[in-house]
Amino acid sequence: MLKINNLHVKLEEEDKQILKGLSLEVPAGQVHAIMGPNGSGKSTLSYVLSGRDGYEVTEGEAHLDGESLLDMEPEERAAAGLFLAFQYPVEIPGVGNMTFLRTAVNAQRKARGETELSSGEFLKEVRAKAAELQISPDMLKRPVNVGFSGGEKKRNEILQMAMLAPRMCIMDETDSGLDVDAMRLVSEGVNALRSPDRSFLVITHYQRLLNHIQPDVVHIMSNGRIVKSGGPELALEVEENGYGDLLAEAG
């Protein structure tokens, strides 16, 4: 599904290398977690994959289902099936959550040559999915993320994920700022979306999220590269001992 090979990325405006030869493969249907200390390049990886400005790929490639991601505009990557759940979802006053979501869903359908959803079809679907995530009709009507609590913002991200039905979901520290109940809700939302033809890349600082969203593989990232990969037990090891030993061992 997602194949990243020897990715080197620097900041566009300064001579600072962030990713230094990162390689990673997430097969269809799997959940991979990336853990790593602050500044290891986890968020940069999510931004580069989804096409944010400000980064320059100096070497390497990234493919989604065989299509090269790095040449595409962000909206083309989305239509190709990539989704990034933001660590800090952006507030957009004056633009209704529903209007935004319907525009996004139909723009993607249009880009893929599918028929657009009528407003009736859209409403029916969004109401059902919002109810599952305990998102009130009032939240749907409000401007995008405006006045939402931290938990509501993250649930709204999962609602967008559910409506857009991407094949490859990247979650950038979705657990940050969530209380226990919100984390459970968000995780249930994600688990409900797990399927054999959908993959997840879950970036997190803490093992706790991985109790709720069970990963198939855990990667440890440091200094712009994956330094160790293993099963879920790797996350437990980090939780218990910190990164020190692991990083020393990886050299």
Partner: protein
Amino acid sequence: MADTALQTKVQQTPEVAGAPKPAGALDARLAELTLPQDTLAAARQDALSRLREMGLPGPRDEYWRYTDPRPFNAPRPTALPLSGAGDSPLFGTTERLRLVFVDGVFDADASDALALDGVEISRLADGADWAAGLYGTLEAAGQKPVRRPFAALNTGFATDGLLIRVTGKPARPIHIIHRRGSAEADAMWHHTIRLEPGAELTLLETGATGARSNGVIEADLGQGARFHHIAAKRAGDAKTGVAHIFARVAAEAQFKSFSLAVGGTQMRHEGVIDIAGDDAVAHIAAAALGDASAAPFHHDDTIFITHGAERCESRQVFKKVLKNGATGVFQGKILVKPGAQKTDGYQISQALLLDEASQFLAKPELEIYADDVKCSHGSTTGAIDEDALFYLRSRGVPHARAVVFLVLSFLADALEEVEDEALRSEINEALDAWLTDQAAI
């Protein structure tokens, strides 16, 4: 052709070699105009005297530094071909009293009858007893401390307009529909509105008028009255215009004005609000969108709010979206007089520059003579928020559509000042359509 009354007032200014004298410009301007002999003749004469004292503005005039007064001073407007566009689709489904003005002149055949429960309406030419003591008085009061020569010119020479006295709470808004009739028209209209205590009125305005236009609205709000003015000026007509609104707000009354301007060449919007009674509220907001790619775009909001009573609230929200070398100007003042305690004054002016060629010039002013007040002002100039743009695009929203969303988002605070939710969402949808594919507004 000037009429006799005017001729007697005209005094030639001595010729001096060198720079053109403003008074000479005024003579040239007045030579094109005729002072109407109607029931308001005395007020018109007074206005002409005020204008003579002031003269026309020059580039050194404090409040004309950022806006070139020459297109307004010129004796005749530059001809502007008719665009052939029909009436604005805005407010078309709202139950309202439709009153059509062609280049500032009332078109009775195209309008509904001048009848609405709780309202007395007549044309300037027909006069009204109550109006004789009001027409021109708010404009005259608004000349101090900042002179507004084009408003005085308008009071003197307005060719038509409405005298509206509201005694109740009419079930429908009044909708003034502006249309263009000729490519050379120099439209000058003046509405004087009196809201009796407790009365309520919503006034809607759409369309475009004249090759050049000069509009004045005077609104006198009695105790506890509520006046809501919503104007949406037509896109696409590259014209010159100055629009004034003068308001006097009595105790517990509420004044709200929102105007939207899309396109236009050189526009000046002046708002002068005198909050005269305790516990009154005055909000004035505007959104202007300009693209200077086809013709220059210059939009100027010059606002003056005076707090003269206790526990009053004022709010100024001004937003401009500028593109391809467009210029926006905001000059906004809050004056709190001695004794106007517990004043709550707020002012924000913001520009969204869609490129580096556009500019925004802002001059916020506060002048406060009371010691227990809350006044704040802010002004920002910025580009599209890259984080928000990326967020939208990452969801599959195409770049152009994402920019439209962010422009609407930027304007949202100003649109919030349209109280009626249905009208507000109608304006928002019209703006969306205009931003997306230049659909008419």
